[in-house]
Structure formats: structure tokens, C-alpha cells
């Protein structure tokens, strides 16, 4: 996808004929594709809490899956550690979301209705249900009480954790922000695999090395899936993907790939025998997971700000 520069309109607005596009023919009005370079859409109003929640909610969801699978396979130690990770990550999620609201005291209006056209409404219910199931399951695991309920709610949290780790991708994709909307079919894979990479890395860090094999393998497999998805998404976005490659955000996106890739490589090689190497890999990967979400989040702002990303694809669509 190629984009033209957003050249300001006629010669008078800058006082100089130099602002007219060089292709202007005498008698042919210069074609402008913006109003003084103003953005067409508004940038999001979300603050740092939102990308952090993308990580905490997603990592919690897949940690629940890891915990339940470990429970099924008889790996009780890993099941408990992953469960603690899931609980901690989901416990911090609602406060993050509420503190981002313009009117935090009205957070409960999120559950006024279930609106299927709004991924945020659907997500609020998913988060609430997963939070409840995770808390019940954790309580049962810690106290040994209500074993059947604990098992069932662990299973429910594992299943709900899948949409919990991917709905946020649908949420940002269902906006007019060009880079997010254009990547709508890649985003759920990116968010889901990044959440899995984070869940694997976190349990690699906090579980004994002798039982953390599944967590390490999950981290490595998810990292491969994430890096592959990133490449496919870059290819699909073309020039619409510039905000993921330019300026400071480009550096963060690059760091995300390096941290995720090197962390996963360390876990998959030396980490198989060495607990220390596995944990270093886990730390690197967690840094990568945060950097991935941060770069996607910030890219949306740059994509909204420059009108060329909104105008050029729409012009082509209209001509087609």
C-alpha cells in the first residue's frame, strides 16, 4: 500500500506557491488531500493503563489455561504457580481499567447492558466472569475446600481466558484508527500469542524448573507464533504500518521482537537444563510482551494523527 504526502491545499494558505504539489499544471487546481494537515479522526484518549491491561488480562487468561492443563496432566506444582499468576494478573486488571475512565466512580455502568456490537461491553462481561472464576478456583486451590467447584471454575477460567486474551484485539480493531482496523485479522493472533508468551514466561519465572517444562514450551511456541504473526501483519499493512517502524515507536517495536526472540531462544536452549538461563529468558520475554503491546498501542496514535493514513486508502476504495 503506497501513500502520498498530505500536501496542504492551495498556494495561498502558506503564502507561497511552493506549497502546491509539483505536479500542478497551469489551469488545473492543485489537488489537496487534507485540511491544513489536520487529522481527520481523533486520537484515542486512553492512557498507559490500557496497554498494561492488555498484558495483565491476556496473561491471566492464558495462565488459567496453563494452570488447568497442568492440573489435568497431574502437574500440581505448576498448576498452583500458574494459578497464582492468573489470580495476580486478573486482580490488578479492573483497577487499571477503572483508573483510565473519565468518570471512574461510574465504572459499574459497564455492566448496565450487554451490547454485542461493542467489544468493550462484551469484554467487560468476559473480564467479570473470568475474574470470578479465577478467584473461586484460586480459593479452592489455596484452601483445599470445595474441590469440585474449584476444578469447575478453573476449567471455566481456562475457557474464558481465551476470549479474554483476544477480545482486546477486536476492541482496538473495531475503531477508525487505520493501522488497527486494517490489521483486524492479525491482531487477535498477535494479542493471543503475546498473552501466551507472557503466561509461559511468567510461570517459567515462578515455578520450579523441575516442573516448568510445559510453561517453557508454551513460551517458546507462543513466541514463534507471535513473531510470525508480526511479520505477516507488517507485510499486509505495507505503508499503513509505518507507525510501527518509525521514530521512537519503531525502536520499541524492534526491542519487542529482540526481547521476545532472544528470551524464547534462551528458554528453548540453555533453559532446558539451566534454571537460571530459563529465568533470564523469562524476564527478557516479559519485557518483550510489554513492549509489543506498547508499540501497537502507540502506533494507533500516530496512525490517527496523520490524515494520509485515513485519506489515501479511502480514496482508493472510492475509486475502485
Amino acid at each position: 500500500m503506497t501513500l502520498q504526502d498530505t500536501t496542504p491545499t492551495a498556494s495561498r494558505d502558506g503564502g507561497s506557491p511552493a506549497t502546491a504539489p509539483p505536479t500542478t499544471q497551469p489551469g488545473v487546481p492543485p489537488k489537496s488531500n487534507s485540511y491544513y494537515g489536520h487529522p481527520i479522526i481523533k486520537e484515542p484518549t486512553w492512557t498507559w493503563e490500557i496497554p498494561v491491561y492488555f498484558v495483565t488480562g491476556g496473561v491471566s487468561g492464558i495462565s488459567s489455561g496453563l494452570s488447568f492443563a497442568a492440573r489435568l496432566s497431574g502437574n500440581q506444582v505448576l498448576a498452583r504457580r500458574a494459578q497464582m499468576a492468573a489470580f495476580a494478573m486478573i486482580a490488578v486488571s479492573p483497577p487499571l481499567l477503572i483508573s483510565d475512565l473519565g468518570r471512574p466512580a461510574r465504572f459499574y455502568n459497564m455492566l448496565r447492558l450487554l451490547k454485542l456490537s461493542s467489544p468493550m461491553s462484551v469484554g467487560s462481561w468476559i473480564l467479570s466472569a473470568t475474574g470470578g472464576a479465577t478467584a473461586l478456583s484460586t480459593f479452592g486451590m489455596l484452601t483445599g475446600r470445595l474441590p469440585k467447584l474449584s476444578f469447575a471454575s478453573g476449567g471455566a477460567a481456562a475457557v474464558l481466558g481465551l476470549p479474554l486474551s483476544t477480545y482486546t484485539a477486536v476492541l482496538i480493531s473495531n475503531t477508525s484508527v487505520p493501522i488497527w482496523h486494517e490489521a483486524r485479522h492479525h491482531m487477535p493472533f498477535l494479542f493471543g500469542s503475546s498473552s501466551s508468551a507472557g503466561a509461559g514466561a511468567l510461570s517459567t519465572l515462578i515455578a520450579p524448573h523441575s516442573v516448568s517444562g510445559p510453561a517453557r514450551r508454551l513460551a517458546a511456541i507462543a513466541a514463534a507464533l507471535e513473531l510470525t504473526t508480526t511479520e505477516l501483519m507488517d507485510h499486509h499493512l505495507g505503508e499503513l504500518g509505518e507507525p510501527l517502524h518509525e521514530g521512537q515507536n519503531g525502536k520499541i517495536a524492534k526491542a519487542a521482537k529482540l526481547l521476545t526472540g532472544s528470551g524464547a531462544a534462551l528458554i528453548a536452549t540453555a533453559g532446558r537444563r539451566s534454571a537460571a538461563a530459563a529465568r533470564v529468558g523469562g524476564v527478557l520475554m516479559l519485557g518483550g510482551v510489554m513492549a509489543t503491546r506498547w508499540s501497537i498501542y502507540k502506533a494507533g496514535f500516530a496512525s490517527a494523527k496523520d490524515p494520509k493514513y485515513t485519506v489515501e486508502p479511502q480514496r482508493r476504495r472510492r475509486r475502485a
Partner: protein, 278 residues
């Protein structure tokens, strides 16, 4: 919580039907920019009637545009474009246009609002309930026109209500009332559309080949605007998107991708348990 309902369909006509006896004909604006003289009476009337806070004081240096664009505190905005394709006084022309919320048939802001603060009125317009909005901000990047915005010091989002309070009292919106040239025309949506089609044919017959309607057709990506325009150049020249789309039209496909991704994650989890605990 006792009022929690499951809401499926939020597009214009179907929601208007739910008003039953209270349903009113759909209303809107036809903003004919060929008649705009850039007096900004609409901006002033809107701010005055709706008690919209002051925000921009000063000069932008962008022709006579001092308010910059629509936002939380600017519900009408007059754009000024000075065009002079060649260095010749005769070729100079002004484009002036009063922009406003489009009150889309398929409104992205309303689709994504999780609290139901944004709603479809009995007149078919789109309005924020300020006692419900919790400032989640989802509508802000959802709007394909950059209309709705959060008022930072207030925490909630604000935009044109098409003077919902005046409509209830059988009054026309303040901007249309104040417009001295009938550039802003208020009325029943169907009637305005017919009038707009006549007007654009008339202007074309007079030699204004670039005159076009923007948002009049229900075939566009938002199902047509409640408040549409007659423009004399490409929409992007006025800071408007050439082919706006309510992205919620695609949300089913996005959920399918999320389901596929979830299936892949189940596979990744299962594969991780091959090979035991070490």
C-alpha cells in the same frame, strides 16, 4: 444491574421503531456549502444555546478558521479554504463549510458505546446521555469523522445533540435558526435529501461541475448521514474522510478471527504438555 438488557441491533430505523407511539419522523441537516459565507453565526449560536465551554481564543493563521475542527467544545465548525490554482486573481475562490456531527444511520460511536450512554433518539439522531457516560473513550477513535471528543476536565464525551431539547419543543436547532443564508437547512430527512438532489443538479446545470452530495446516499459505509452536505470539492479538502465506514460492520469477521486465534492457542497449550513436566 436489574436493568441489564441484551442489546443486539442499534442501527437507525430499527431502533426508532422501538419508540412506538413516540416515534417522530427522522430529522437532519442539509448543509449546502455553496451558500456558506463563513459568518460563523452557527458556531456562536450553537455555543450559546448549548452552553458549550469556550476553548480556543486566538488566531490559528489558517485563513479565518479560529476553532480548528469539531470536538468536545466545538459542535459546529466553519472551515475556510482559499484556493488559487494559478497566480491570477480570477482563479481565486473561497470554500467555506460548516461541519457538524453526521448523526450516521449506522453510527460507530453508538455501536461501540459499552454503557448505552450514546443512544438513538425518537428523531433518529444520536445523543450522549451525560448522566450515564463514564468516559471510557471508546467512541472517540471509533468515529470515522473525528467528531466526538472527551472534555478532559469533565471526563465525559460531548458532541452535537442536533439540539435534542429544542426538537422536543418543536424548534429548529440553533445553528440552522441562526444561519442567514440557508446554508444550514434543518428538516425531515427524506425531504432534505430530495431537496439536496435537486440543488446539486441545479448547480451542475449552472456549470459547477465539481458540486457533489456527501453523505446523502444510504449506500455509503455508514448507511448515509442524518446530517449531510453539498460540497464543491473532494471531501478531504474540507477535512472530511472520502469514504467513511462504520467499522462495526466488520466486527463479526473480527470475532471469527479471535475464535480462530483462540483455537490456535488451545493447540499451543496442548503441544506444550507433550514431553512431560521437565
Amino acid at each position: 444491574m436489574s436493568h441489564t438488557v441484551i442489546q443486539l441491533d442499534v442501527a437507525a430505523e430499527s431502533v426508532q421503531q422501538t419508540y412506538g407511539e413516540a416515534k417522530q419522523p427522522r430529522v437532519g441537516f442539509f448543509t449546502d456549502t455553496s451558500l456558506c459565507i463563513g459568518c460563523k453565526a452557527c458556531e456562536v449560536a450553537c455555543k450559546t444555546w448549548n452552553e458549550v465551554p469556550e476553548d480556543v481564543l486566538g488566531f490559528t493563521g489558517k485563513s479565518y478558521d479560529n476553532s480548528g475542527g469539531l470536538g468536545a467544545n466545538r459542535w459546529r465548525h466553519v472551515a475556510f479554504i482559499e484556493q488559487q490554482p494559478v497566480q491570477d486573481a480570477d482563479s481565486f475562490r473561497w470554500l467555506m463549510s460548516s461541519d457538524v456531527c453526521k448523526h450516521c444511520t449506522e453510527a460507530a460511536c453508538l455501536d461501540v458505546c459499552p454503557t448505552g450512554a450514546l443512544f438513538r433518539t425518537e428523531f433518529g439522531t444520536v445523543v450522549v446521555q451525560e448522566d450515564v457516560c463514564n468516559g471510557c473513550g471508546y467512541c472517540v477513535p471509533a468515529c470515522p469523522f473525528g467528531v466526538i471528543e472527551k472534555r478532559e476536565e469533565d471526563g465525559r464525551v460531548w458532541k452535537c445533540t442536533l439540539c435534542y431539547d429544542r426538537l422536543k419543543d418543536d424548534l429548529e436547532p440553533a445553528c440552522a435558526k441562526a444561519c442567514p443564508t440557508k446554508s444550514i437547512q434543518f428538516g425531515e430527512h427524506d425531504e432534505l435529501r430530495a431537496r439536496a438532489r435537486d440543488r446539486v443538479e441545479h448547480l451542475k446545470a449552472q456549470g459547477l461541475a465539481d458540486a457533489r452530495l456527501y453523505g446523502e446516499s444510504p449506500e455509503d459505509g455508514v448507511g448515509g448521514f442524518g446530517a449531510f452536505f453539498l460540497l464543491l470539492d473532494e471531501p478531504e479538502v474540507y477535512g472530511l474522510p472520502p469514504d467513511p465506514k462504520d467499522t462495526t460492520r466488520d466486527v463479526g469477521g473480527m470475532w471469527r478471527s479471535a475464535a480462530l486465534a483462540s483455537a490456535a492457542l488451545v493447540g499451543a497449550l496442548a503441544a506444550s504438555f507433550v514431553g512431560g513436566r521437565r
